[in-house]
Symmetry: C2
Subunit: 426 residues, 2 copies
């Protein structure tokens, strides 16, 4: 039996290493998983979902509208509520907010919109600039489009504007500026590091993208992935980068219901810059002509009732306790171990752990095996580095997630991890 003759894109598609980790977790139900990006299960909004779903389906006209086809772009009332939500988060009066609900597209999670935007802009050999490290499902998907990625270092306040500028300058000198299509920034509690882009850096990064767009002869899209924005546990998060894009021309601001409400609804959305929304709708039209309309009608009610905001408040308490449990356990577990450091995120689901360089955290290294035997699973940091040919992937980092496990389990898991690290220390 001859094989199918796959397209170039299918042949270039990289296996997502996360599949292996998920399978490993399923094979070992006793494992404490500090790997999965899943959310806390106990706090999922079953009651609010049940109440709004019952009300929606009890009204004949509303039920029929929700069970019928919707539009590719997304339910109009939901888009209006989302536009108001984004204005409120940025502290901008609705009448002074650039753009409108017609610039919003609702997608099957924000991942679908990341994929659509890459599809719209990236030809093989085109360049996407992202953080070092970055969200690996997006950078993995980019490989199927034949994108080249160039990474920019992160420090305590996320992507450094100087480093971004230097990278763009270097590409300019190499004559590659015309190939730069997207600058990708996860601006709140970044996956995988938990780092938030500093407030003062936001207008500067936008300004750099704007200036290099002029030099490139086309608009470079600044994709602001704000998936973890609502999950802020300390203080008030800074305004979005999009807040500074007063003409609404450069930034695509992407958010989701998966983290702050329920991933099972699989709904994300983006506020797109001028000139892109028609293309995004056309592209999504070919893919599926619209995400679940029932889920969108439900979410409109969830937001309008105030239940979304109330649920976010609850989640902040739940995850703050988990984050605190993880940081306290790290303080205990790695006390006195030299060369170990970790981030102290103010939100999101992740802590980024850096071990001494001699320790290989990879799936085939000794630490991973020790940790599995000790009963704890983590994401090797090497998966989070996009394939930048000018760089060498560090082998001694780890992404830890405090999303799924309860505080006692987190403390236990970190203790197991710390003992595994001690066992492999030179």
């Amino acid at each position: 039996m001859a094989a199918f003759s796959l397209s170039q894109r299918a042949r270039d598609a990289a296996d997502q290493p996360i599949s292996y980790l998920m399978a490993e977790a399923l094979r070992n139900p006793g494992l404490i998983s500090l790997a999965a990006g899943f959310v806390d299960s106990q706090s999922l909004p079953a009651a609010a979902t049940a109440r709004h779903m019952a009300e929606l389906l009890a009204e004949p006209a509303a039920a029929r509208a929700a069970l019928q086809y919707g539009t590719t772009q997304g339910e109009p009332r939901l888009r209006q509520l989302l536009f108001e939500h984004l204005a409120k988060l940025d502290g901008v009066p609705i009448d002074r907010m650039p753009g409108s609900a017609d610039d919003i597209v609702v997608t099957t999670g924000s991942q679908q919109l990341l994929h659509v935007l890459a599809d719209l802009l990236v030809d093989p050999g085109d360049i996407v600039i992202c953080g070092w490290p970055s969200y690996f499902v997006f950078t993995g998907a980019l490989t199927a489009f034949g994108a080249a990625t160039r990474a920019v270092d992160l420090d305590h306040a996320g992507m450094a504007p100087e480093a971004l500028e230097a990278t763009l300058r270097q590409l300019q000198h190499g004559g590659l500026l015309p190939r730069v299509k997207i600058v990708y920034v996860c601006s709140y509690h970044q996956n995988p590091t938990g780092l938030t882009l500093g407030e003062d850096r936001r207008p500067r990064i936008l300004d750099i993208v704007r200036r290099f767009s002029d030099l490139a002869g086309h608009r470079i899209l600044l994709v602001e992935d704000a998936a973890y924005r609502e999950l802020t546990y300390d203080g008030t998060p800074p305004p979005s980068i999009r807040r500074y894009d007063t003409t609404g021309d450069h930034v695509a601001l992407l958010q989701t219901f998966s983290k702050p409400f329920a991933p099972g609804l699989k709904a994300g959305y983006g506020l797109l810059p001028t000139g892109l929304v028609e293309h995004a709708i056309l592209n999504k039209g070919g893919r599926d002509f619209g995400s679940s309309n029932l889920c969108q009608h439900l979410l409109g009610r969830v937001i309008a009732s105030g239940d979304f905001d109330r649920h976010v408040q609850t989640l902040r308490g739940v995850y703050r306790a988990k984050r605190d449990a993880m940081l306290a356990a790290l303080d205990r577990g790695f006390a006195g171990v030299e060369g170990v450091s970790w981030t102290r995120p103010t939100g999101g689901l992740y802590v980024w752990l850096t071990l001494p360089q001699a320790i290989d955290t990879g799936r085939h290294g000794p630490l991973f095996a020790h940790a599995l035997r000790a009963g704890v699973l983590f994401v090797p940091g090497e998966y989070c580095y996009p394939p930048d040919p000018t760089r060498t992937v560090p082998r001694s980092t780890i992404r830890l997630s405090f999303g799924v496990t309860d505080p006692a389990g987190i403390a236990d898991g970190i203790e197991r991890l710390a003992s595994a690290v001690r066992a492999v220390l030179p």
Copy 2:
């Protein structure tokens, strides 16, 4: 402000003409729409959805599982139920059904799976063979992949095996067989003609695809789009083409919940041939890593309870009456008009109307304007012909849908259309 520099795919993406028709329907709420492929609104399953959703969300463990992330491939219990559903439709005992639930992928409508399969197999210049006419959202999406389409004539029993063989033979002689990746057949109550592929043609078409796969040196995928399979109003529909694929190697059988249950859930699925499911999962993983998990958990309950089958029974009665109303109105309205003919479908949502060649049914032709003034909207048949460079698009056909409008409105709409046709007859 410079423009974004779009990818080749985005520049090749064709506008979907259906957007114009939908906008036209919105601008003229008094119009009788015989255009939209929407389903009957009155019969949408609000009560069954409400009941199962309430039960699902009232059980804490079930609610949490449905509101959490699912898998990219789709909910395992739902996939098992779908595998059993397909076996039952084909009258095959479950233990003799080739493949398994692990060969099923659940997608955001079956459209997403059509798009994924094209993405997996089609490089620019590759060839997809389809009916003349065909489902235009799929053939439209193919243009973004740079596919060349070659069309095969349909007669009263759908695609003729001899015509398919002649087309493949011609491609072989032109040295183009290595570029043929997909043969696309809508096997039940085809969109747009309402024609069902004859039972005796099914194994023959499979056999042709198998033989030319051997000649091509790779497996050509036979995509069997069975979106309208459950909506059969007269007699028992024939087994699927996939029924004859006893090794499960050649056919991807695609079905959906949009037509036989509720489009608002946006759930479709496919039973894929060996060697393709891993690629499909990887591809969908990059797009969205899974469709709405809540909708999938709901649908598992809908099927297991028997409510799906009961709803399909109800729909058969509803649409049979609509189909009968349309055929009776056509008999009345076009009595004595020469050169007019139409299909008499045994299921689905569409009747295909052929007018005298002198009548241009296009959007900018006189009939369309007359019909709009008379208050009736239809889909010009020219949209349904894929871009085959070897053929000339007929200008005098129309796709009529009896899905949305009630029987009285259908009768009224056809009367208006008939008077518009009489007005433009030479």
